[in-house]
Every structure is written in structure tokens, then in C-alpha cells.
């Protein structure tokens, strides 16, 4: 049995593209997806910038053949991404092997719940959205769309590290033989709930987010759906699958420092990276590129930067960048979006620029990559950290 778990398909819809190819073109073309908000009516529309998927709900409904206003936005983004992943893997019958669906979300169907919260009691028109509030609903809708039956299905919500944890669980379940195939990732649509929530924490930037810059003002919220197909060696061999890359390492730890903030020294982040390296059987110097969490909040980038220095050593941090300047912070899905980007980096031997970076941070000597670069990559490390101290790291590798 190989050490890594094979990735045989991936799909994504984000602010910088409606599929994998479009996302990659935006990444190397340095095309940001951050703009003024258009799909949600909010009084904060002039003070914030967001990474919206460039499609209205009706366009998404049309694409999926749904009647108007039947689903909230999260399940639609999730279905689109999961379908693309399954298509790429070449799966024709989702139930032909022991398959599990592991999704993640922070808000699920909140976009509709907040819209009809009191209206439910006045008329029946939107009653079908009542049951769409709970986080598992979007996952069930994705499962139904994919035709998944009698299968393992769950949803993870560990704030901004959720999708990374979905990938971690999928890899563990395949390694242990509990599943032959896992469809893993997440989906989160923008909502007034998250916009106002992050506003109360005063960590939203009123302009383009600038990860790892000394003058960073906070994050831009984003939305996305992103899924990967993980398959066992048995399937890869039997079905002669083209393997895109391998999940070779994963680590999960808790910072246990504060309800929302990361510790100054990034203890949780250090532990997550250490665990991931150990699972992968790699040393820090084997990592060729780090796709950082890099949300552009004062707290995250300082904590993560210090954690990277602790893991790799002063002056030895590998080339790194945050892609949040492209997509915004897609919350639960961030780890999924960035896993897709990390696989693309491995496939194309490409490092993405950390857009909007101008001034190095005063606390340490760390310079993110600012230009799109070609480099032979074997191992990419991707970080995702969230509220509640949740820290997760994935290592994706070209070879098993």
C-alpha cells in the first residue's frame, strides 16, 4: 500500500472561475476575483469587498436544471464542484465502490434562512427553505444530486479549517479501509450572517486584501465550492485511473489559546504542520512550496509567519504565498480551494504570486512570492486555520 492517498478528480467554483481550468488561468494570469458585492443586499456594500462567484442564483439554477429558488446557494456551489470532480475522475456509477461523501460548511443554507426568518410565519411560499438551515442539508442535496445511496456521509464544521479536515478524514478512512472512495471538500456561500459576523470582529478590509503585508487591513470574505475525489490503490489499479497527486500528509491540532484569535507564536499551527510532516514521512526541507492560510488579518499572518519560521527555521522558509488575494477567504471551503490550487501547482510546476504585497512585515523577515514562477515541485504544504483554535495542515505530493 502506498503512503499517500490518490487524488483522481477535482472541481471548483470560486470568484476566479467556474471550473478548474478557469481558476488556473486566473491564478497564472494574476486575475483577482475581488469586487463590490452584487448578490446580497447589505447596508455594508460600500465598505467591504468580497470574492463572489460570478453567477446569479438563477444562472446557477439553470445550470443545474433546478426550478427558481428551490435551493440555497451553498448546495448549488457544492453540487457544481462535486460534479466536476467526479467527471474528471471518470466515475460513471457513484455506487460501484464503497463511497463516502464528506462535505463541510460554516453557514449552509443561511442565505435563505436569514431572508425568510420571520416571513415563514406569514406565508407558506418559502417553507421549503426551513429545513435548509442545518449544515447537513447542503451535503444531503449534493449526495442526492450525485445519486449516492446507502453510503457514508457526514459534514464537518471547524470554521475556516473545515474543508482541510474533510480531506484529512477522507484520507484516513481510505487508508484504514473504511472507504474505497471519498468525495471530500466543502461549500459556503456568502450571507449577511457572515458579513455582519466578521464585521463585529472588525477584521474585514474595506479594500483588496493584502496577505503578509505590513499594512494589511483584514480579510475579504469569499464564497466557493470545492471538492476532490480520493480513491484507494485498489480502484486506481482496477480502473486504471490517472492520478493527479497524492494526499501524503495531514495534521490537526488545537491552538487552545482564544475563542477567535491565534496565539502569537502559532503553537497550534506548528503542531498541525509537524503532524502533517510526520504522517508524510517528510522533513521540512522537502517542502517546495507553502500555500499559506494568509487571510491578511493582522493576527493570522503574524501567527502563521512565526509558525512557519519555527517549523522551517529562520531564513529557510520555502517559497510561499497566500491565494486569498484572488478568492477572498472562502471560510469552510478555503482548505478545499487551496488543495485544488496546490494540486494544480504540482501538476504544472507553478508557484502562484501573493498579490497586493508591498511592504514586508516588521516582526520578521518573510517575503512571499510576488510573481508567478515555474519551479519543479514535489511536495506542497497547505495551511488552514480557524476560530475555536482549529489548525489543519495538508501535504500534497506528486508521487505516492
Amino acid at each position: 500500500m502506498s503512503k499517500g492517498v490518490a487524488i483522481t478528480g477535482m472541481g471548483i467554483i470560486s470568484a476566479i472561475g467556474n471550473n478548474v481550468q478557469e481558476n488556473y488561468e486566473s491564478l497564472i494570469g494574476e486575475k483577482m476575483g475581488i469586487d463590490k458585492i452584487t448578490q446580497i443586499e447589505t447596508i455594508h456594500k460600500d465598505e467591504i469587498m468580497v470574492g463572489e462567484v460570478k453567477a446569479t442564483n438563477s444562472e446557477l439554477e439553470q445550470r443545474l436544471g433546478l426550478e427558481a429558488n428551490t435551493y440555497s446557494r451553498s448546495p448549488m456551489l457544492g453540487i457544481i464542484a462535486a460534479q466536476e470532480a467526479i467527471r474528471q475522475a471518470g466515475i460513471t456509477d457513484i455506487n460501484d465502490y464503497k463511497t463516502g461523501l464528506i462535505s463541510s460548511t460554516t453557514v449552509g443554507g443561511m442565505d435563505k434562512s436569514e431572508q425568510y426568518f420571520f416571513e415563514y410565519f406569514k406565508n407558506k411560499e418559502h417553507h421549503h427553505h426551513i429545513d435548509g438551515l442545518h449544515a447537513g442539508d447542503s451535503t444531503q442535496k449534493i449526495a442526492n444530486y450525485l445519486g449516492l445511496e446507502g453510503s457514508f456521509m457526514t459534514t464537518i464544521s471547524t470554521a475556516c479549517s473545515s474543508a482541510a479536515n474533510a480531506i484529512l478524514l477522507g484520507a484516513r478512512m481510505i487508508k484504514s479501509g473504511r472507504l474505497d472512495r471519498a468525495i471530500v471538500g466543502g461549500t459556503d456561500a456568502l450571507s449577511k450572517f457572515t458579513i455582519n459576523g466578521f464585521k463585529t470582529l472588525m477584521i474585514l478590509s474595506d479594500t483588496y486584501n493584502t496577505p503578509f503585508d505590513d499594512n494589511r487591513k483584514g480579510l475579504n470574505l469569499g464564497e466557493a465550492g470545492a471538492f476532490l475525489v480520493l480513491e484507494s490503490d485498489k480502484i486506481v489499479e482496477k480502473e486504471n485511473r490517472a492520478v493527479l497527486a497524492y494526499v501524503s500528509g495531514y495534521g490537526n491540532a488545537n491552538d487552545a489559546f482564544h475563542q477567535t484569535a491565534s496565539s502569537d507564536n502559532g503553537d497550534g499551527a506548528v503542531m498541525a504542520m509537524e503532524k502533517a510532516l510526520k504522517v508524510a514521512g517528510l522533513k521540512p526541507e522537502h517542502i517546495d512550496y507553502v500555500n499559506a492560510h494568509g487571510t491578511a488579518t493582522p493576527n493570522n499572518d503574524l501567527s502563521e509567519g512565526r509558525a512557519m519560521i519555527r517549523i522551517f527555521g529562520e531564513g529557510k522558509v520555502p517559497q510561499f504565498s497566500s491565494t486569498k488575494a484572488y478568492t477572498g477567504h472562502t471560510l469552510a471551503v478555503a482548505g478545499g480551494v487551496e488543495a485544488v490550487y496546490s494540486v494544480l501547482a504540482l501538476q504544472n510546476n507553478r508557484i502562484y504570486p501573493n498579490l497586493n504585497f508591498k511592504t514586508p512585515m516588521s516582526e520578521f523577515n518573510l517575503l512571499p512570492e510576488t510573481e508567478s514562477k515555474e519551479k519543479v515541485l514535489e511536495h506542497v504544504l497547505s495551511n488552514s486555520f480557524g476560530f475555536g483554535g482549529n489548525c489543519s495542515t495538508l501535504i500534497l505530493s506528486k508521487e505516492a
Binding site: 460548511t105 420571520f118 447537513g136 446507502g150 456521509m153 459534514t155 450572517f193 475555536g388
Partner: protein, 354 residues
């Protein structure tokens, strides 16, 4: 060689007086209602006032049940914390949404938003214990708790952890009850313990609760039972249900005849209790049967109550009369829990005396 998984302790806050581990359903709380609140322990005895001031009810309940479980297991810390919750600290989420609407997105405060994050219970427990280990939160409706169990089982079997704090928690919230009454998920007419299953109306009665357990790779004096198997199915048809249960038992090396008690998730919903009836009248016709939602009420992590109940039954070797569904009796050594919610999110959990 896969390691065995032991249930070394329990902690429970529910609609019954379960927070005291020295008792076992000695007194039953009567009701005639459409919803059930928990019997509140004296939270102040567990939580210092400075820590309690921002705590949502779900966190308070979970502080009590997790501390109870840790104490009984004789542990000060664990290797991992895994929590399931269908809706998280829903009361704060609902209030935050109301505030957004009523105040037109102005003057909102962060506390309600922070508590709304589904992982807030797991995060707060970790913060309280200073536990930097694996930390996970599952949020998949009626299998949120089972997802946590399965994850813990996987880690202990594969020697990734020795002691894991596993739990489930959900809050009872007015807006949720009222909105789901509109669509028949919860009953509009009050029921009692005795009439829940015979009500012959659609929906169930919403409740709340928090149940935590220490799962371990080592048996000790406090051990309740061994966890032999957990499985989750997103959907199952009535026709395939029996064969799926059979295949789960085969996989767990357990004969159908070896099951001494089945604990069923009947919740009095006339549209969906048929799943339980088909097993009770079918493959489990000659098996002692029990139910629990007439005591716990229905919530996404109500199976945490079933897991508590089954653990207690095995440890004490007594099946309280109040939970019996039929008159068959066998010494309860092997117990199977089956649950589903509205025809979806089915789960099977197998426990054995050890």
C-alpha cells in the same frame, strides 16, 4: 492488529435527571408538551462566573457533561476532542439573525456570532482543558454524534490516540421549534411520555441535551462497555434496511441471535416510525426491544442519550421498565442502537459487555 475501543465514562445532561452518574433513571420527569428542556444541573458548581458569562446554553450543558465524563474516567486531559452537533449553539445564531433583521445590520455584537460557529463547543472545551490535540466538529443532522464516534473509533483502532473525549450537543430554540412545526417536523399537539409513540400524528417533539464519553484503548474499573461498531448511511430504503443491518452485524462478527437488546429511535412521527416497526416486527421480532425518545425527546444528537442509556444498561445489567418496547428479556450483553431521522441519516451502533 486493531485495538479495542472501550467506553470508560459517561456524562449527560438531558430532559431526564441524567447528570448524576450515581443514579440511573430512578425518577422520571413527567411532561405534557410539544418540546422538552433539559433538567438543569447547578451550572455554577461546574463553571466559574467569569467563564460562564459568555457561554451559550450548549456550552454550559457540555461543560457539565464533559467534566462529568473526564472525572469518572479519572483524566485531566485527553488526546482528542470530537463533538457532534446538528445545529451548534443555535440560540445565539437565531438571535444574531434576528438582530441583523431588526436592527438593519447595525449595532451587532461579536459574542453571538462567535457562539454561532458550530465548533464553538469543541473549541471551548479545548480552551478549558488546554488540550492542543486533535479537535473536530461534525454537523450532519442526525448522524453528527455517530460521526464523532466513528472518528474516535478509527483513531483508537489505529493507535492514533489513547483517550478521546467524544460528545454530542444540541439546544432547544423557539424559532426552530415554531418554524419546523409549520412543516410538520414537530408536533403541534402536546404529547406525554406514554402517548408519544401512539400519537399517530406527524413530527416529533423537540428537545435538547449534551452527552459526552471518554473512549479509550484501555479497559479500567470504570469501563461501561466496548464499542464494537459504528456505521452511517445517508439513505436507506425500507426494503434494504434489514439486509443492511444484517451486513453490518456480519461485518462486526456478531450473529443476529447474539443481540440481547435493540435500542430504537422511534420518535412518534407517524410518517417515519415505520422504519423501526419493520425491524421490530421483522428480524428483531424475537429480540428484546427498547426505545428512548419518550424520555429524551428528539434532537440531532439524541443518539447521545441512546449511547448513554445503552452504556448504563450494559454496566448495570438492568433494562429499566420505562424503556422497554416489548416484554422479551435477556441479560443485556450485546446492544444494538438503530436510528434514522425522517428517512435519512441512518446509523447503527453496536456495544458489548466486556
Amino acid at each position: 492488529m486493531k485495538k479495542s475501543v472501550y467506553i470508560n465514562s459517561v456524562g449527560s445532561v438531558s430532559a431526564q435527571k441524567t447528570y448524576d452518574n450515581s443514579t440511573f433513571l430512578d425518577e422520571i420527569v413527567p411532561y405534557e408538551a410539544t418540546e422538552l428542556k433539559v433538567v438543569d444541573p447547578d451550572y455554577k458548581a461546574y463553571i466559574p462566573p467569569a467563564a460562564a458569562r459568555r457561554m451559550a446554553k450548549g456550552i454550559k450543558m457540555s461543560t457539565v457533561s464533559s467534566q462529568t465524563a473526564l472525572k469518572e474516567a479519572g483524566l485531566e486531559n485527553v488526546d482528542a476532542i470530537i463533538v457532534g452537533t446538528g445545529l451548534g449553539c443555535l440560540d445565539d445564531s437565531a438571535k444574531f439573525v434576528s438582530d441583523i433583521i431588526n436592527n438593519d445590520e447595525q449595532f451587532l455584537t461579536p459574542t453571538r456570532f462567535i457562539q454561532s460557529s458550530h465548533n464553538t463547543v469543541a473549541g471551548q472545551i479545548a480552551l478549558g482543558l488546554g488540550c492542543k490535540g486533535y479537535n473536530f466538529t461534525y454537523v450532519n443532522s442526525a448522524v453528527s454524534f455517530e460521526s464523532s464516534l466513528l472518528d474516535a473509533q478509527l483513531q483508537i483502532e489505529n493507535s492514533e490516540a489513547n483517550n478521546i473525549l467524544v460528545g454530542g450537543v444540541d439546544e432547544l430554540v423557539d424559532h426552530h421549534v415554531q418554524s419546523h412545526q409549520l412543516i410538520g417536523h414537530f408536533k403541534n399537539e402536546p404529547v406525554t411520555q406514554k402517548t408519544l409513540l401512539s400519537s399517530n400524528t406527524e413530527g416529533s417533539i423537540m428537545a435538547e441535551g449534551s452527552h459526552f464519553f471518554v473512549l479509550s484503548n484501555e479497559k479500567q474499573a470504570s469501563t461501561y462497555a466496548e464499542l464494537k461498531g459504528v456505521e452511517i448511511y445517508n439513505s436507506l430504503s425500507l426494503e434494504n434496511l434489514s439486509s443492511q443491518v444484517q451486513s453490518f452485524l456480519d461485518h462486526s462478527d456478531t450473529e443476529l441471535e447474539a443481540i440481547d437488546l435493540v435500542v430504537m429511535g422511534n420518535n412518534g412521527d407517524s410518517n417515519f416510525d415505520g422504519y423501526y416497526d419493520s425491524l421490530n416486527q421483522g428480524i428483531f421480532k424475537y429480540t428484546p426491544q427498547a426505545y428512548f425518545k419518550h424520555l429524551s425527546g428528539e434532537y440531532d444528537t439524541a443518539t447521545g442519550f441512546a449511547f448513554w442509556l445503552s452504556s448504563k444498561i450494559i454496566k448495570t445489567q438492568t433494562v429499566p421498565d420505562i424503556v422497554k418496547l416489548n416484554s422479551l428479556e435477556k441479560p443485556p450483553k450485546t446492544v444494538l442502537i438503530y436510528n434514522q431521522y425522517r428517512g435519512q441519516n441512518h446509523s447503527l451502533v453496536l456495544l458489548k459487555k466486556c
